[in-house]
Symmetry: C2
Subunit: 437 residues, 2 copies
């Protein structure tokens, strides 16, 4: 039950309200949907008020996108949103039917009905407000509420908007914040967040907890478990996120404010991406405004830039070399955007690169980590092409065909297969630290 | 352009506004969708303000229904509506993309966004109001408006509702009425309304015009071209309906008020249904209230009853025999509903029956038509099991395996392969009376 205090002060934690989010693989088949429904009902039977956010089933969104491109080479963004928003609605309606068969009353809501108010940036809208009155009323009357993820309604024109790929995570975290839910549970087909990708490192361990900052760095550097924006939203609104498997009951990985993560190891995890490309502009004029023109052109073409390196010109007549990395899928858009500028410099590209990153809040107090990373890669004979660091992350761009070796080597070098040092077990006595995906 | 007068008095005819409705086969493939888009754009290029109502593509609705029954044997009606409403939204979004590629601005609207306000009878909602302000504003700004058919939003709870199978026809006619459109064009995969089903009667003719009353009788007795409720809505709101093919430009069949149909032949068309079943309750008590209990039980089980015959009891101890016909698919529901009553009479059923109907506004002044129908069937050796008449219709229940013979015999007996007698050609000189589907 949502108390009347929660209604007045939505940010106050209401521990008996839980927001559960189920990803596409967790609702793909009728059996999957019924499994999700049972989990929702189980929480309800424990006395919790349950809001569940559902993604589109299986490959539905991909199929809808393909449908759009069968019709048009450049689908209108507003209409793409109208089209893509239907997948999550179907999941929610079907799940409500399954829950009704289990003897509980459930109501499915569109993003608009759930009060997810966004700006008008179709296909990548940002949540401006969550007006959860209808959800609160439904919870108060004992209903289970199912909300179509990934979508909202625009303030100005009352149009359907979508939040971009993975946006259902953000829907769930935003609802948890608005409802003052004790936790936002993100159910996927993996058991939690691992010290590395278990497909590459067989003895990777599931992490019991992570700070928001670590999770942000991991999401930004290749870990696909949580959408970056949902982690930002969780950090900004103080919503703890529990990433766990929809296929078993073992606890997953809890993402918490850093103040609650206590003592942490130097390095928490190794992440990687094999989906990168590098662009180098050789000998650009070393004068103010050039870089601005380049990255404006890229932003206008919707290309997200990851690492940027500019070295000093060796002589004034050579100019500077500027390199940056982007997603490989954006390479064509990036080069054509750059060709339309008046830079008149050669554009060199490399689409055979990848990235490995070492992440850990403990790095802040242990400056030797960078040295250890470079040494480990050096011992494997892996050439580092670019480096980017933050206080809790070191990323290296390397040849794509050495990425798996690098991940295994770094995982080994930092002893990540061994148990973490933890001052407190956040899951209590029922915790099984070695359950895998 | 919609004039400001039209805005104040929506019922006034605004001849340059047209509502076009495209059925599922007319938007099934990408090519079909683009063909519909071209037709919409062509009307816009002729200077018309265009509102297009789209059905779900091809078999989409059937697939969604199947999905629901994979999850639940008895899907919750509210959630079924949420699920089924997505198909039409997809069609509209995709068509808007196609129109944008043709250089025109189009906007897709859900039933709710289009202002289709209904009652709360999920899966069979009735339209209570059409609040077309958003459509008028979009038309005024030069946009083409695409409306998801078959759906609306309920007044009391702001939920998605659907209007029942074929409901997109009603959406289109209701919008035409609200906007004061000159005509509502219903595009399907057939060329119009025929004197009989051309698959059974090869020389069936396309009818140029029909009165609302005739079309109502035809829709009610097996002609699948237009949903019954859309014809009722058209008659009640004086919206002329043009049934035509989405695959060519030939005019189809215009459905008009009877005052505009002028002189009509005795018989306009022969319709049939092979989808019937008969239930007979033998020897029920001949006392007040019995029939009421029977048909209340059937209505509660959502069984639509067509013909009803009750004969007088031959003696007071035998009781009366009551027979009625229903759709064959409802037979199991009907018998189980009747078994739950306390009638304690034998329930006899026959699922091998069909129905042929002869329809024509001219019958009113030509009482010999019934005799001619019975004679024609008698000459074919076809036994008539039940008869039902209206001022402009004669229906006979016969064995299902004689239905095709009966349709051909009646079509021939009334000379329907010959040109109609018409005082005026409503389509002008461009009319091609013999174009077929």
């Amino acid at each position: 039950m949502v108390s009347s205090e929660a209604r007045k002060e939505p940010a106050a934690i209401v521990p008996d309200t839980v927001v559960m989010k189920f990803g596409g693989t967790s609702v793909a088949s009728p059996d999957d949907l019924k499994r999700a429904a049972r989990r929702i009902v189980a929480a309800r039977e424990r006395g919790q008020s349950v809001v569940a956010v559902l993604s589109a089933r299986g490959k539905t969104t991909d199929e809808l996108v393909a449908m759009a491109y069968e019709i048009s080479d450049a689908p209108v963004a507003r209409e793409l949103d109208m089209l893509l928003s239907t997948g999550e609605r179907q999941s929610c309606a079907l799940c409500a039917m399954a829950i009704a068969d289990m003897g509980y009353e459930a109501i499915s809501l569109t993003g608009s009905q759930a009060g997810i108010v966004t700006d008008s940036s179709h296909t990548k809208a940002r949540i401006l407000d969550v007006q959860a009155d209808r959800i609160r009323a439904a919870l108060s009357s004992g209903q289970i509420v199912l909300v179509a993820g990934f979508q909202g309604v625009s303030t100005d024109s009352n149009d359907v908007t979508t939040l971009g790929r993975g946006g259902s995570d953000t829907t769930a975290v935003a609802l948890a914040a608005a409802l003052g839910a004790g936790v936002c549970e993100i159910y996927t087909d993996v058991a939690g967040v691992f010290t590395a990708d278990p497909r590459i490192v067989p003895d990777a361990r599931k992490l019991e907890l992570l700070s928001f900052e670590e999770m942000l760095e991991m999401s930004a550097s290749g870990a696909g478990v949580l959408q970056l924006r949902s982690v930002e939203y969780g950090r900004n609104h103080d919503v703890r996120i529990h990433c766990r498997s929809s296929f078993d009951d073992a606890p997953g990985t809890l993402v918490l404010p850093e103040s609650e993560t206590l003592e942490r190891p130097f390095v928490t995890a190794v992440t990687h991406s094999e989906n990168e490309a590098r662009v180098t502009l050789a000998g650009i004029a070393d004068e103010p405004g050039v870089a601005g023109r380049i990255f404006t052109a890229l932003a206008d073409a919707n290309v997200d830039v990851d690492m940027i390196i500019q070295n000093e010109p060796v002589s004034t007549d050579h100019g500077a070399d500027l390199s940056f990395t982007i997603e490989r899928g954006d390479l064509a858009a990036a080069t054509s955007a750059l060709e339309r500028t008046d830079l008149a410099t050669p554009i060199l590209t490399d689409d055979r690169i990848g990235k490995v990153s070492v992440i850990g809040a403990g790095m802040r107090s242990h400056p030797g980590v960078a040295r250890d990373v470079f040494n480990a890669l050096g011992e494997l004979g892996i050439n580092i092409q670019m480096i980017s660091t933050s206080p809790i992350k070191i990323s290296c761009v390397i040849a794509v065909d050495r990425v798996a070796d690098a991940v295994r080597g770094l995982h080994d070098a930092f002893g990540l297969d061994r148990d973490e040092v933890l001052a407190e077990d956040p899951h209590g006595s029922a915790h099984h630290p070695r359950v895998r995906a």
